[in-house]
Symmetry: C2
Subunit: 214 residues, 2 copies
DNA sequence: CGGCCCTTTGATTCATATCAACGGTTGTGG
DNA sequence: CCACAACCGTTGATATGAATCAAAGGGCCG
């Protein structure tokens, strides 16, 4: 069964609750801030400058067009860092998709730490690779690629939780919720995956799935 | 009329010809290397580590899928810099689209210069914004946005050259060459642009075009 | 002048979106 | 403890924007 934290003290507003490090047990890191599923972490226009490292849970970055169309730019899982921007203020929404804990640190102001450069370069590469997915791949290719990426990022288990809804997946891959659902059904019918629950995917045939990627 | 350099000493191979600075007249910058239109500047797998600043001409970065589908990741015009990567080796093809001169400098090895960080963050932001274009915009929105972007980057002239072919534009925007051609025709028929030649666009109505963007 | 390549235009097809309805799960309140 | 409501996901029918297939112009170079 899928395990999702549901009893963690969380918040739905936008003012982080910071627990002192002593409460967490790790004296060296910044305090842990938690967010309820659906809670905004920051919004476009808000001043940037913090780095957010996901301790547990999952975060999405997205942008809205004026008529409501939405593009999810990236997902961040446990251990991953987000929040750095080229501009002074944020360009995207950052929202927790499930109960999530992040460690917030001040981005060295105007300083170019090697770590931040690596993050920026990797972020650029990820976005550039995602361009090919959205620009040139079919619905099946996009979703198979997405599932394999998720499996990798969760430690290459053949069995993992999707912390995001079908709508989030659709908006990440440039598809609709119905298309996502249909492709999942097709992969299941072909015996390539198994849905232990709506949010919990088991990969039955890595090799065959790999063959469906571009 | 459109002005395109055609008589410059260029090369079609992949070994840059470096002119000593004294030949160029600027003693402070790195030597100028020129490439013929269509010439490869680097290919995937090649060792990365150089920065390339476009002096004149235009470069495209692209990637190929195994079956030949192509995604153009970015265009670089005069004054813009490319070539930085998260990995040790290049992930993309870089090709001159027209006769092009670049200044190549060694990327400070493992060093995190503020300039490089800015480039990386801006590159990330550009790619992320392009995701929304490709993932959620219509053919007309993509092309109008592209034309306005090109106008901006060439100094907001209402009259500029496109250094790339229709195929390049299509592969950049996730469309086909035919769709690009039809949208151009439509914009021309609506009196919003004028094609002085295939490669030279005149913007007739910035405001109306802006209204067509998402 | 002739050939090649790029672009345009037209006819048709197709993948995915849209519209519509149903099903399953979760959480709540009587 | 059960009934209901809300939400999310699935499935089906139809519509449509862009792709594909096809062929006919230009412009440039040899």
């Amino acid at each position: 069964m899928s395990i999702t934290a549901r009893s963690i003290e969380t918040k739905t507003g936008s003012t982080p609750i910071a627990f002192p490090p002593s409460m967490i047990g790790n004296q060296k890191t910044s305090p842990l801030t938690t967010f309820a599923g659906g809670a905004e972490i920051y919004v476009p226009g808000e001043q940037a400058g913090n780095l957010y490292e996901v301790e547990f849970g999952a975060v999405r970055l997205h942008r809205l067009l004026s008529d409501g169309r939405r593009q999810v730019i990236a997902f961040y899982l446990a251990g991953e860092t987000f929040g750095f921007e080229a501009e002074r203020s944020h360009s995207f929404f950052a929202e927790a998709m499930v109960p999530t804990g992040v460690r917030i640190s001040r981005q060295p102001d105007g300083q170019a730490s090697p770590e931040l450069l690596i993050l920026a370069l990797r972020g650029m590469m990820r976005a550039q690779e995602h361009l090919t997915v959205i620009g040139r791949q079919t619905a099946v290719e996009r979703i198979v690629g997405f599932l394999l990426d998720m499996a990798n990022r969760q430690g290459s288990l053949n069995h993992f939780d999707l912390p995001m809804s079908r709508l989030d997946i659709a908006d990440y891959l440039g598809l609709t919720i119905e298309t996502v659902s249909r492709v999942f059904a097709k992969l299941r019918a072909a015996g390539l995956i198994k849905l232990q629950s709506v949010r919990c995917v088991q990969i039955k045939d890595f090799q065959a799935l790999g063959g469906l990627c571009a």
